[in-house]
Amino acid sequence: STVVLVFQAPISKLLHEGDSSQEFNFNVKCGDRIKVGEALGRWHSS
């Protein structure tokens, strides 16, 4: 069986706060084993 996840996530610079940025990044590589609850990806704001 297979699960396909499709989702929206932040990708680029904020419009109002100059140099701040948010971006979603996958934490995994193709071929990696992953378990329920482990992070697939994160985004950060600064």
């Binding site: 996840l5 989702f7 929206q8 990708i11 329920v36």
Partner: protein, 368 residues
């Protein structure tokens, strides 16, 4: 060697009927000969397949991507009654196993498919059938959920096959290098998926939807009514569309969890084929995920749209939803597959749908 040792020696002709005696003797060799030939042939085919798979693994380790290669054997599978085979397999594995035999059967299964039995929530003899064992729950704390509010967690145990970003209208998901399929074919033509190229997605979701569309797409109201999680006036981060494909082996934990705090608003059930979905199948069977039986859940999370498609396979034909226990999949159908639109249900209880927290169980893949 034992076969050769036990091979009966031909008797010399001793009478006029000797010729008949010889032909009788020859025919007695046919059965063991055919059996040995079949075993040798199956062994050779298995060895070749293992060699091919090993070769592909080595190429992947070197960073060389496998490409799509249509296969005659894969085409032949469309003529097999895979759905019936799947249901028979389900019935077979639902049979109650004697209590004394259960630990042996489940340990054998675990050895064959590399399952971790120490994580099982119950003692092995409590699972009455292989089917029940297959969808076993895990001990409390076996799968800690990442609590970072800015992360998306894996909904299943499995192997990452593909991931990436979807760009522009008519976005395609790559099945394997050299073959892709449209995301709308996977989720359904009536999907609420935002379609513009990234950069405009949020503008479309919050502003450009016409009033008539708003009444239909009530789930957008949820995202707009949740300033705590998505406030377009404060930061206006642009949104992109991403996808991730995760493959579950038969020995994996087979329950599905919520990847984030999520309001599920629509469920779609597509009846379809039940081709195998192993890695070999992904590179030989065209449109594998959009031909197979699947359940699609759509809704909103703090960053906008989210959909999860649970795709069945021959051995794991039915998908059970804990949030909708009455849903039945892999049923016998008379109409031709893929000709009917998906059966859809809107979970629109007061506009919020089914509310799930990150890590909550939402369904399971069942045998057959």
């Amino acid at each position: 060697t034992s076969f050769i040792k036990n091979f009966p020696k031909p008797q010399p002709p001793s009478s006029v009927n000797g010729a008949n005696g010889n032909s009788k003797g020859d025919s007695s060799y046919l059965l063991p000969g055919a059996t040995v030939a079949t075993i040798l042939m199956l062994g050779a085919l298995h060895a070749r397949r293992m060699y091919d798979d090993k070769k592909i693994e080595k190429r992947q380790e070197k960073g060389i991507e496998v490409e799509f290669q249509p296969d005659v054997k894969a085409s032949f599978m469309s003529f097999l009654p895979l759905r019936s085979i799947s249901r028979c397999w389900g019935q077979l594995t639902s049979m109650e196993i004697p209590a004394w035999l259960r630990p042996h059967v489940y340990k054998a299964w675990a050895r064959a498919f590399h399952s971790n039995l120490e994580e099982a929530a119950l003692p092995l003899d409590k699972y009455t059938s292989l089917r029940e064992f297959f969808v076993r729950a895990l001990k409390e704390g076996s799968r800690p959920i990442d609590t970072d509010p800015q992360c998306l967690v894996s909904p299943v145990d499995g192997k990452i096959l593909r991931f990436g970003e979807l760009k522009g209208a008519g976005a395609m998901i790559e099945q394997v290098k050299g073959f892709s399929y449209p995301v709308f074919s996977l989720l359904g033509a009536s999907s609420l998926l935002p379609t513009t190229a990234h950069g405009n997605v949020q503008e479309e979701t919050s502003e450009s939807i016409k009033p008539t569309e708003k009444s239909k797409k009530s789930w957008w109201r949820v995202s707009l009514a949740s300033p705590k999680v998505w406030d377009p006036t404060s930061s206006c981060p642009k949104k992109g569309l991403f996808y991730c494909v995760i493959y579950l082996k038969p020995g994996d934990y087979n329950r599905i969890h919520s990847p984030a705090d999520w309001n599920i608003l629509v469920r779609r059930h597509f009846s379809g084929h039940l081709y195998p979905v192993n890695e070999r199948a992904t590179r030989t069977i065209r449109n594998l995920y959009i031909e197979n039986e699947r359940v699609v859940l759509e809704g909103v999370w703090q960053e906008g749209f989210m959909a999860l498609a649970a795709v069945g396979a021959t051995n794991i034909g039915s998908i059970e939803l804990f949030i909708e226990p009455e849903l039945q999949t892999n049923k016998p159908i008379k109409k031709s597959l893929n000709s009917e639109p998906p059966e859809e249900r809107v979970y629109d209880c007061e506009g919020v749908g089914k509310v799930l927290k990150k890590g909550d169980e939402l369904g399971a893949f069942n045998m057959g």
